[in-house]
Symmetry: C2
């Protein structure tokens, strides 16, 4: 399929075209990359989904939440795409099926699109690939893009720079575990959802929710927040309770940010961030090349043996990488 065809079918909302386009932007092959660049530049720029980052440690029930929350959204007539950031490359082909099975109902929903996390590629960072996949989902007319992160520091930063709303999903837990959430991640949250607020866990969930609401009030006020945000609330993916309230809270937040100019401001700042990040990655790319690794190994052995200084060795490596004296 040529780029023009792929674009037309993508813009028409065909899920298979979207899947194919994402595979293209994830590819490390030079010809694929060139085609991906053409496609990205040709996309309409006037479609915006609500991009929701969903962070939470393993075991908190993220998949079940996405299944319930996503289904609630499609029942309201919205089209929902689910993407994952997985910097660990720990997931393998097998878990792709696993992901789809875990989100069985959503995976069969014609208004949903689920894309498992990409395997690690040598070219480009996880940020760029996911960012480009988000753009493709928006161009394909999805209303909501859920970006799932694995709950380790760096991937939250990436998710925050890719999203309009940052949701932190937490399990009910005793007060001590409140300390376990890193302050930096708390500060990113627009909404904290305490999951599993059902059955025996409900009283614990209520206490946990109150604890986090208290913790949120202690954080510095951010300009992009309306009154009473960030919020903490309870949900149950199992009982499917609280999901609509959570979505309402997100919509209220989004509407306020749009009307106050924070939405456009944040998206512009994110675009600048990714430009700088892509340039950095591009400049550092020679370090990942076979030549770069060989040079670092070779000169590394010499500096380790104190045969030369890091300063002089670095000059030599840079001169070789640049193909001229530095």
């Amino acid at each position: 399929m040529n780029t023009e065809d792929l674009k037309s079918r993508l813009v028409a909302g065909e899920r298979r075209a979207l899947a194919r386009a994402i595979t293209l932007v994830e590819s490390g092959r030079a010809d694929h990359r060139a085609q991906a660049l053409d496609l990205l530049e040709a996309l309409p720029k006037d479609r915006q989904a609500v991009r929701i980052a969903l962070s939470g440690t393993p075991g908190v029930g993220k998949s079940t939440f996405i299944e319930s929350f996503g289904s609630m959204l499609t029942e309201r007539g919205l089209r929902v795409a689910v993407l994952a950031i997985d910097p660990s490359s720990a997931r393998t082909g097998g878990s792709i099926l696993g992901d789809k099975t875990r989100m069985d109902r959503l995976a069969r929903d014609p208004n949903a699109f689920i894309r498992p996390s990409p395997s690690q590629s040598h070219l480009g960072g996880v940020g760029r690939r996911t960012r480009e996949a988000v753009s493709l989902c928006e161009a394909a007319g999805f209303d909501v893009v859920l970006i799932e992160t694995v709950g380790v520091g760096q991937s939250e930063t990436v998710a925050a720079q890719l999203s309009d709303v940052f949701v932190l999903l937490l399990a009910p837990a005793g007060g001590d575990e409140l300390q376990g959430v890193k302050r930096g991640i708390m500060e990113m949250a627009d909404l904290i959802l305490v999951n599993k607020a059902d059955g025996d866990l409900k009283p614990v969930a209520m206490r946990t929710c109150a604890d986090y609401a208290g913790a949120l009030r202690l954080l510095r006020k951010r300009p992009q927040d309306p009154q009473d945000y960030p919020q903490a609330m309870m949900v149950s993916a199992l009982d499917q309770s609280g999901l609509e309230t959570a979505w309402d809270a997100m919509q209220t937040l989004v509407a306020w940010r749009r009307s106050e100019g924070h939405w456009d401001h944040a998206r512009a700042a994110q675009a600048r961030y990714w430009l700088a990040e892509d340039v950095r990655q591009g400049l550092l790319a020679p370090l990942d090349s076979p030549e770069g690794r060989r040079l670092l190994d070779e000169m590394g052995a010499r500096v380790a043996a104190a045969q030369t200084t890091p300063t002089a060795a670095a000059q030599l490596v840079l001169a070789q990488l640049h193909g001229s004296a530095t």
Copy 2:
């Protein structure tokens, strides 16, 4: 003075030659840089000082400690150099005098050398400059190099990669403040010294010391530590008590690490670290150039206005910086 003369006088231990050599490695001028590289390569590689990183937040009494500790060392016949890592560039010319005044006694000691923190230079990072200054102090025959850091995260990482022994200086404080020391910094410490263990503060200092000793025992055992390390102990820079015990503890640690191979291993790993870091900085240098800043501003405005994608804009910036299509 030519490089050969400077080297001879430096190796003979002349403090004025050392000061001049440090000014040379800190200079951003290309001809100075070339001369600095020649000098660094020509230095003898067989002189090793004990490099001590001294970390602690402002107000903990670092200057007074260095004055007392340094004087105790010179009284034992050792030559002591004091360098500072100051990534903030907040200090100005005025504080150079301030530093020397604060360490009045040590500054007049013929066996001591005090170098205030360099002002920010556009070329090279704080790490490289301080690292090269440490090498110059070693070549000038100093036995101990004290590297003072300002107590903010990044400078501790730099200090740890520049030192053989990492000392964390703390003030006596209530149990709550123990939380204020970041876990990452605790994990770097070889020795925690609770300062101001004198007068009314002595009981608090004892409790603080016991608290930190307890906290250190909870950390994972590191291969480079002998039995009972890392340690926490009390000192008083005012009463000049505990200083010799602290120095004995450092010497015991150093002797063990030397005999077990950890010293050489750590220095080799540090050399590799700085090689990689210098290469990274060199590759990223175009971002700091006027051309790089102009390109990022220009393309930043275009991506912020959604006229192009970060991906495409980054390609253009990289092509311009490399002077060819990427």
